[in-house]
């Protein structure tokens, strides 16, 4: 009995068996490839059905209602649609249309269009990646397929673009599929050991899988990167807390809470799409970002061009005024802000920035007048209350200054600078105000231990007592 299988095998020539299996393998391979293609098509179609349109619909099927929207945006969409009509088999034309739709906040339409581009050119990772990103919240199951496809295509292309694989890992992580997520990050790190984003993903996987010590090591490698600083500190705080290291946990949590939001990661696919953003809002946003990045001259060019197209855009005039303030161009700033004021006479922000401009120019009475207008319209604007208080203090109007600073604290008790300013102002007054001064200075120091003037004033007052 035990030898029977051997006897059967021995009766069949080995070559015949190999041939049989080879045929079977080929047949199954064909089945597998067809299945993959069918599945991908089905997935794409499924996601398209969600959007109320079929993936293989003809060009022009979108029929987006473009009336009432920014003419520049409408023109960009119309142009992209026309390109699709001219070349309905062009994945690039469909993909470009998808990107135009995505950057103008039309995600559902963009998903359908990306699906079409993906079908026309499955080798191109961009469309799968962009579609996967758009699906990641609403249909993570479909997003996983799209991102995996994009990651695999990037591997085949050998261009070193690890972004789709990292996003794939992050999506798996967000679904708590840690065992599947970590290999994706590990794979990226094998190719690029210094990839901080992958390291951060790996740290999260390790933490979730209970390897807290390894998670701490991995997160520590991400602390110095401004794109992962807050995230790494937050993860470290959790890890230390789980290990019972309360002091370390508090320090890390404090660092995470006090740090600015992590910088965003460069995304070449989204950057390419962002270039297609047009219209008033997109250009205002771009100018605002340029101002925040201290690229004032670029912002001014952008805003002047914007104002040429939209002369009644009060926001553009306000931003232009802000840019001139940064460049200490008072005439330019005043001209722009007064124009904004004409267009939007009630604007709190315009009055606030007029105040900032006059204060910077040393014209404190006019600055105070503008700040007064701002807080009259929005009493809970703590920053304006603070600036009003500071101006009045410099003008010697102590009582009114203290009142404005108290209002600043009333609306934002977390403001260390308001506590500091008020504490120091009261410290210069009569003795009856000293207890309140000390209280505010203590608050200022507890909120911001680096506030040297508050600390020194507090030391003087407490020593004097």
């Amino acid at each position: 009995m035990k030898q029977a299988p051997i006897a059967v095998r021995s009766r069949l020539p080995a070559r015949a068996v190999r041939m049989l299996l080879l045929v079977a393998l080929v047949a199954i391979s064909i089945f597998a490839v067809v299945s993959v293609l069918h599945y991908r098509r089905a997935e794409i179609a499924a996601s398209s059905e969600d959007d109320g349109a079929a993936a293989d619909a003809p060009a022009g099927f979108l029929e987006l209602p473009l009336n009432g929207i920014d003419p520049q945006v409408a023109a960009a969409i119309t142009r992209a649609e026309a390109a699709v009509r001219v070349a309905p088999r062009s994945a690039s034309a469909w993909g470009t249309l998808g990107m135009v739709l995505e950057v103008h906040d039309m995600p559902q339409a963009a998903r359908v269009v990306f699906a079409k581009a993906e079908l026309l050119d499955p080798r191109e990772p961009r469309w799968s990646y962009l579609r996967g990103n758009l699906l990641s919240a609403s249909r993570p199951d479909l997003a996983l397929v799209a991102l995996r496809h994009a990651a695999d295509r990037c591997d085949v292309a050998g261009d070193g673009n690890a972004l789709p694989r990292i996003r794939l890992g992050e999506l798996l992580l967000s679904r708590q599929q840690f065992d599947m997520a970590q290999p994706e990050f590990d794979r990226v790190l094998r190719a690029e050991p210094s990839d901080t984003r992958a390291k951060m993903g790996r740290a999260r996987c390790l933490m979730e899988r209970g390897d807290v010590a390894a998670a701490i090591r991995s997160a520590n490698e991400c602390v110095s990167d401004p794109r992962t600083h807050q995230a790494a500190e937050a993860l470290l705080a959790q890890a230390y807390a789980r290990q019972g290291e309360s002091d370390s946990a508090q320090i890390a949590a404090g660092a995470a809470a006090d740090s600015a939001r992590d910088q965003s990661w460069p995304d070449p696919f989204l950057r390419e799409a962002a270039k297609l953003a047009v219209g008033r809002t997109a250009r205002e946003t771009l100018a605002g970002a340029q101002l925040d990045a201290n690229h004032h001259s670029e912002a001014i060019d952008q805003l002047q061009s914007l104002i040429k197209d939209y002369p009644d855009d009060a926001v553009a005039w306000l931003l232009l005024g802000r840019a001139y303030i940064f460049l200490s161009d008072r005439p330019g700033a005043e001209r722009a802000l007064r124009h904004a004021e004409q267009l939007d006479p009630d604007s709190v922000s315009v009055q606030f920035h007029l105040g900032v401009m006059y204060r910077a120019a040393g014209d404190l009475p006019r600055a105070a007048a503008c700040f007064r207008k701002a807080v009259a319209r929005q009493p809970d604007y703590a920053a304006a209350q603070f600036d009003l208080g500071k101006c009045l203090a410099h003008l010697g109007e102590r009582k009114e200054a203290a009142s404005a600073l108290r209002e600043a604290i009333r609306y934002d008790p977390s403001s260390s600078r308001a506590h500091s300013e008020l504490g120091r102002l009261l410290a210069e007054g009569d003795r009856s105000e000293l207890p309140e001064a000390i209280s505010h200075l203590k608050r200022a120091v507890s909120l911001n231990s680096a506030d040297v003037p508050a600390r020194e004033a507090l030391q003087r007052l407490t020593a004097g007592q």
């Binding site: 199954i28 299945s35 929207i69 945006v73 739709l101 679904r175 708590q176 599929q177 959790q238």
Partner: protein
């Protein structure tokens, strides 16, 4: 040959694996062990019960100027409370059309389950930019009082028990000129008096215009304005002729040290030390968890306890909050609602005092569709001991061109007529059934009454409105009607509704934890009406006990950490547990545990 065969089989297996291509392990749309939800869970009884309320959000924005008044899109909440102590829950609904606009409405529940508008002359018929409502007996006289939050102020109304309320805001010392949103009453220092927590949203500039990416005017977002701190008011008791006097302890309690953009608040014991903590959801910013230090101060520990960010380290649009024990271990999970472009987050306790994002593992990231969630609750609708999730949705940004409308026929706003402005923000609600093992699946399609109407849903309150053991829902909309949904399941399990009262304080014991065992399954609920979004739920604890027609014993952990056991009772009734009438039950944990220890233990009464 064997090796060759194995290699070929492995290759084939690999190819077959490749063919399967994707992972479906988390596809919650069609779970294998899903019970077919063919019977709708709720029916809309708004008209039949004579509940007539149309939310007025003020004048419609003028698209040309792009000045959209932000408080308008945030909607308003509601409260369920028995203001006249007749044993039936009454309803309070909030307007936000401004001081000269429509007035808030109080509805009294009649013996036949219908409602009568008793607003006129009640003292609660006030107008303003109303946001939320919190209920709590601030003077311990046995009648629940009402705190109203508004854009620009809060107002406290003292309940006289006879259908009349008096505005005692000024004499009570409450001064809060911010954009107040959610509020909760909690006795954080265990002195027997209910203190008050009020969250604030933003330092909003009403003159600011915002536009969407296609240039159309729209409501601004939280990132456009500085945040604000959550305020804590300590109840000092009667003073100076006022029945109650509050003191603003925001700074001394240290809640002032971190600003957020608060929209939701829940006060529960998060770290298991027996003292109530304060959890605040912040829109687009990290959440805050203020851990009670037992000395009148709090430390913010959301980051280290895992609740500040979601599992990917992001701070999404945190809004409404649902809490409940999902695993039968006496610990509560939290579900927080976000934007439609994000995933609402489920945090589960692992271990005690720490939380982990388990949204995907619970199947909650792959629901049939996504909306922008506001009010939410974890409730046992079928009375089978399992908490289901109910979520009300409504956009905050206009639907983009080409985006499919959520329902073929939009039934909205005044008199059932579709209001074009609000229809651009309308979405449907969702019900996610808990089918055990920590998994949920979306049964919205089978629930047309609650989930089939597209509107700008905001507030959601839950409770056993008709004292029949079934959990009912009341949902509010921005610019539309409030809807009352009665539990319509015909084959619900047995139930017990528990009211926990401290006779010395003459009021419900907010913060008490009630536990019972049924067939080896432990059920735990909390006396904790605040939660959801801008709303106050039924202050009683509801238990579905399935096939058990009797509860053997009730265990109560009172807010001051004292345990007490009460004899059981037959099921299908409302049980009132009065402190001192049971048997003392020692707790297994310290009466005053460490406030911020890394691994605190929870009491097990």
């Amino acid at each position: 040959m064997n090796r060759e065969l194995r290699s070929i089989i492995a290759a084939v297996a690999c190819l077959m694996g490749a063919a399967s291509g994707c992972d479906r392990s988390h596809d919650s749309r069609a779970p294998a062990n899903q019970t077919a939800a063919t019977e709708p869970w709720f029916e809309d009884v708004t008209a039949g019960r004579h509940l007539t309320f149309v939310h007025d959000a003020g004048p419609m924005p003028e698209p040309a100027t792009a000045h959209y008044f932000y408080p308008q899109i945030m909607g308003s909440g509601a409260a369920l409370f028995d203001y006249d102590d007749d044993g039936r829950l009454d309803i309070y609904l909030v307007q936000n059309s401004g001081p000269g606009g429509r007035k808030n409405q109080l509805f009294h529940q009649n013996a036949d389950g219908t409602f009568r508008d008793v607003s006129a002359g009640s003292g609660l018929d006030v107008a303003g930019y109303g946001m939320g409502v919190a209920i709590g007996d601030v003077n311990n006289d046995g009648y629940p009082d009402l705190l109203l939050t508004e854009y620009g102020r809060i107002r406290l109304f003292l309940n006289h028990g006879d259908g009349k309320f008096t505005d005692i805001t000024t004499e009570s010392g409450l001064d809060d000129p911010h954009w107040a949103t959610a509020a909760a009453f909690v006795d954080y220092d265990r002195d027997g008096r209910l203190d008050l927590v009020v969250t604030h949203y933003l330092q909003y500039d009403p003159t600011r215009a915002c536009r969407d990416r296609i240039g159309q005017g729209d409501y601004c977002g939280p990132g456009d304005f500085p945040g604000a701190v959550t305020r804590l008011f300590h109840n000092n008791g009667a003073a100076g002729g006022s029945p109650v006097r509050f003191e603003d302890v925001t700074e001394s309690s240290k809640l002032s040290t971190r600003a957020g953009a608060g929209l939701g608040v829940v006060c529960l014991d998060f770290n298991g030390d027996g003292w109530p903590d304060i959890f605040v959801t912040n829109d687009g910013r990290p959440n805050h968890l203020w851990i009670n230090q037992h000395d009148g101060t709090f430390t913010e520990e959301a980051i280290e306890r895992g609740l500040a960010f979601n599992g990917l380290g992001a701070a999404p649009a945190n809004m409404g909050i649902a809490t409940g024990d999902l695993s039968g271990n006496g610990l509560f999970s939290l579900y927080v609602t976000h934007l439609g472009s994000e995933n609402n987050t489920l945090w589960t306790p692992q271990p005690v005092g720490f939380f982990q994002d388990r949204t995907g593992a619970a199947g909650l990231d792959n629901t049939a569709w996504h909306g922008t969630g506001f009010g939410t609750a974890l409730v046992d609708v079928a009375n089978d001991g399992r908490l289901a999730l109910v979520v009300v949705n409504g956009r905050v940004r206009r639907r983009s061109p080409g985006e499919a409308s959520p329902a073929p026929s939009t039934s909205l706003a005044s008199g059932g007529k579709a209001e074009p402005h609000w229809s651009q923000y309308a979405e449907r609600n969702q019900i996610l059934e808990n089918y055990g093992g920590g998994k949920f699946h979306d049964i919205s399609e089978a629930n047309p009454a609650f989930c089939g109407i597209a509107a700008v849903w905001r507030g959601l309150v839950v409770g056993d409105l008709f004292n029949d053991g079934g959990i009912d829902l009341l949902a509010t909309t921005a610019g539309g009607e409030a809807h009352l949904f009665r539990n319509a399941l015909s084959h619900r399990g047995h139930w017990v509704v528990v009211r926990a009262i401290d006779p010395a304080l003459h009021r419900d014991a907010y913060g008490a934890r009630i536990s019972l065992s049924v067939h080896g399954q432990h059920l735990t609920r909390w006396i904790n009406p605040a939660g959801s979004y801008l709303s106050s739920n039924d202050p009683r604890a509801h238990f579905g006990v399935g096939g058990s027609d009797r509860v053997e014993q009730f265990d109560v952990l009172w807010p001051d950490g004292v345990g007490e056991s009460f004899p059981g009772s037959a099921a299908d009734r409302i049980v009132v547990l009065r402190r001192g009438q049971g048997r003392p039950k020692p707790t297994t944990g310290p009466a005053r545990g460490p406030a911020s220890a890394a691994l605190p233990t929870i009491f097990v009464p």
